[in-house]
Structure formats: C-alpha cells, structure tokens
Amino acid sequence: MGSIDAALKPRLRLRTRSEYAGWVFSILVGIGILTSVLTNPNFKWGVVAQYFTHESILRGLMLTIFLTVASMALGTLLGLGLAIMRSSKVKPVSIAANIYITLFRGTPVLVQLIFWFNISALYPDLFIGIPFTDIGTAIDMNALMAPITAALVGLTLNEAAYMAEIIRGGFSSVGKGQIEAADSLGMSAGTRMRKVIIPQAMPSIIPATGNQVIGMFKGTSLVSVLGVAELLQSAQLIYARTYETIPLLLVASLWYLVMTLLLSYPQSKLEQKYSRATSRLPRKAKKVVALTEPEEGNLR
C-alpha cells in the first residue's frame, strides 16, 4: 500500500477519546475563569496596579524578606545543633532534642507566635546573669517581646524543629562505611562532621531547605496577627482604610507568587547541581596539569 517503504513509515501514537475530552474540558474551564477574572469589575485591576508598588506595600515586602532570611538562617543554625544533639550517643541529649522537635512540630506555628508574643504573662522579667545568684540584670519581657521580636523568635524556633529533621535525615543518608573510614583514619568527631558527613549530607539537605525557604516566605504572613507590618499586614492596613479588600489581597498574593517563582528557579538549579554531586566530571583544566607535573591538591 502506498509508495513509502513500510520500514520507514512513522508509528503514530493512539489518541483516545478521553484525551480529546481532556483538552476540551481544560480549555473551556480556563477560558471561563479567565473571562470572569478579567471582566468582573469587582477585581478592580486598576487599584491592584495602583497599589502594587505602593511604598508601604514595598516596605512590607522588605520586612517579609527580612523575616524569611533571618528566621531561616537562625533556624538552620539552631536546627543543625538540634540535629547533632539528636544523633548524639548520650541518651538524655538526644531525648531533649527529640522533645523539642516533637513540641514545635506538633503545635501550630500560629499558636506558637501568639504564645511568644504573650510570654510576658508567664515570665514578666527576663533575668540575664548567673543562675541561682543575684548577679545579673532583669529585662522587662514586655518591652523585649515587641511584635517583631516575637515574630522572629516564633518563626526561628519553629523552623529549627523542621530543619533539625531535614539535617538529621541528611546525616543518616551518609553510609556507615564513611563514618568507619573516617574513624579508622583517626579523625576527630568534629573533623568527621565537617569534612565527611556534612558535605555528603548536603545533596539531600539543600533541596529540602529550598522548599523550607519557599514555605517560610509564605508562612511569614502569619505574623500579621501580631501586628507586624509585613506584606500581608501592610495590605490589610490599607484596605482597612479604603475597603478595597480584594484588590489589596491580590497585591499581596501577586507579590507572594512573584517571590515564590523567583525562589523556585535557584531551588531547581540547586537540586540539579546536587543530584550530580556524586558523578561529577573531572575538573578538566586541572587534569591536564595533573598528568604533566605534580599537582598541588587543594583539600576543601
């Protein structure tokens, strides 16, 4: 049949009726939602555009970014400490870390934030000094726990619990043989951690941490309940005045979306980079040198 050699004929994929139905359904729903969004005057896209780069919105965005960066950084450090404690051979130490993680992961962040904001009800004064003596000074907890401090403390302590689990997961992905090899060379526990365990745990820690950053960015919106003027609270403050609730929520949402997309890019790059970590290509430039003269190894 036909003039083409049968061996050269293309092989076509089967297209089922449900595939066509899927196309039609998705396009119809898409058009429907888009028309509604664009034609419904209550969205007030003009107002959205007007406030999108409003000064207080941008200031709120900056505060949101600051809270994300600061509580992620502090939370990761604290989480690293907790992860090390959690994998400790000394039982009480690992149990203490375990209790911390359970408490902070088992209660809502929102509740934790409100709790820290109201901590002065529990401890009116914070005493800094030598325990069980009178040496030191007392600080008024109410003055210390300003909304932004409470926000930072709450987000950090909560994040630490999650980061601890991520880091510990990374640690346990490093094979027992690696630890034995380090031990048999006589490495100290600290060197073993820094040079052998952490570098190898990174491939599983980094992508998960990226997810946490994105989650944290959106999670900061919770601190609006403490009256911290971050992105969401800034929008709320405006619509409390102008009653343009939806357009201002859209402004905030669009910023969250933009920032999340911006963060997703380096996140996927990092994931790619670390998934290749164990099969890296030889450093070509260096190799040429290596074959001709004694190279100077650089131990990272």
Partner: protein
C-alpha cells in the same frame, strides 16, 4: 620500639546482644608478618579485624596493638576506655582497607589520600600533596589524582583506599575482604599492590577468600569458624595439609 607492628590478643570475647561472635580468640602476630584469616561467613573473622582498629570494642580479653593496650588502659581492677583523642592516635597507627572501599565521594582521589595527613595529623598541605602523588604512583594510578571515586573502577578505588591508609604511615595494615566486591578481572591489580606492600615488611592482617594470595604471600594462616580460631600456623602447611577436619572440609569447598 621493638613492639611496633605487633598484635597480641589473649582470650578476646565479643558479643552482639545474645550472639557471641568471638570466643576466646588468641592471636600473636609479629612485626612484618603477613597473616591471612580465612573461614566461612559469620565466623567472626571480620570482627577480629574491626576490633584491632577499634571499630568494635572487645568485651573482655587482652588486646595489645603495637605493644600498647588498644583503646583502653589497664588498672589493677579493670580496663578503662581511653579518651577519644588517645584512641584516634592509636588508630592512626593501624590502617584499614574495607571491602566496599569507603572512599570519601566528596573528595578526589588525591584529596582522599591527603585527608588523613592533613585533617588528622595537621601536616603541611604541600608536603602531603607530594606524598599523595608518590603514593598514587606506587599503586599504579599516577595521573588519576583529580578523579572522584565515582569515576574510578572498583579496583582503582580500592587501590586509592590502600594509598589513603598508607598515607598515615601505619605500622599495621588490616584488609577486610579487599577484593570481594571487585570484578574478577580487577582482583589481580589490588592483590599486586598488596604483594608489593608485603615485600616492604609491613605487618598485614588480611581477611580473604583468595586462597592463591594466602598461599603465595602469607606467612601465617588462621582458620576461624563460629567465633573460634580452629586452626592456626604456617600458611602453606595448613593449606596443603590441614590438621582439623573442619578446616579440611572448608578448604575442600573453596579450593
């Protein structure tokens, strides 16, 4: 210093939970001796090796490595565990080569070999690099310094692992089935490196299934079964004319 490179064990016992894996093991290995340990899997031969460099601790018994009580110090009533720093120091004098190589995948071959001298002994990097270069050449891998372990064959990785242990200048080298994870055609290159090492007078304890290597290189041979040393003596003597029926039965299976 006459005790350097010696291993002495008397009545070593070791249990994992209810299972006793070493039952009154006696060992006496002289400096420069090549000792092969053979036996069926689960006989405790790897555990003996792991005790000698402290990857496992013995429950009771005397264990002296390089003439010193290993990992413990003796008082009138008990053996007390040494602080980690002391133990690490003792370990640097005993090299260990693993069945699964256990090179650090985040470091190049060169960095792997330098890791001990630089990170543990705090040696000057330039000096360590020069030594690493020589060691790589001595295991037949000159020019492979910048390769990561994942880019090397099993045989090459194992030779890098041997070089990494040698970089610490140990008096004793322990080999835990060093060729068991290798393709048959790569076994020879690792055994060749080990034979070279044997010629240089290094004390070596080798857990192996390579009877040819044992026959050719080993001075002494230990046959273990079910946590006991069943037979020990001259390697060629035991391999050709085993005294114990259990040894004979094992050798008939593997030869």
């Amino acid at each position: 210093m006459s005790n350097d490179g010696t291993i002495l064990a008397r009545k070593i016992r070791k249990s994992f939970g209810p299972k006793t894996v070493l039952k009154d093991i006696d060992l006496e290995i002289a400096s420069g001796e090549i000792c092969c340990i053979i036996g069926p899997s689960g006989s405790g031969k790897s555990t003996v090796l792991r005790c000698i460099n402290g990857l496992e601790t013995v429950d009771t018994g005397v264990l002296k490595v390089n003439g010193e009580d290993f990992g413990y110090y003796e008082t009138d009533t008990a053996y007390h565990a040494l602080p980690p720093k002391k133990l690490a120091e003792q370990r640097t004098r005993v090299g260990m080569v693993f069945q699964s190589f256990n090179l650090f995948p985040n470091m190049t071959a060169h960095e792997n070999i330098m890791s001990g001298p630089v990170l543990v002994k705090g040696q000057d990097k330039k000096q360590a690099a020069k030594r690493a270069h020589e060691l790589l050449a001595s295991v037949g891998l000159a020019g492979f310094g910048d390769y990561y372990p994942a880019q090397l064959s099993g045989g090459q990785q194992q030779r890098v692992a041997i070089a990494r242990s040698l970089a610490m200048d140990p008096e004793i080298m322990l080999f835990d089935e060093p060729t068991s994870a290798l393709d048959p055609e790569k076994v020879g290159e690792v055994l060749a490196v080990m034979k070279e090492l044997a010629k240089k007078g290094m004390t070596m304890v080798v857990v192996t299934h390579e009877m040819g290597f044992a026959r050719e290189v080993a001075d002494s041979l230990i046959f273990m079964d079910d946590g006991y040393v069943v037979e020990r003596g001259d390697a060629r003597e035991i391999l050709t004319n085993p005294k114990e029926p259990r040894t004979r039965a094992f050798l008939e299976q593997v030869l």
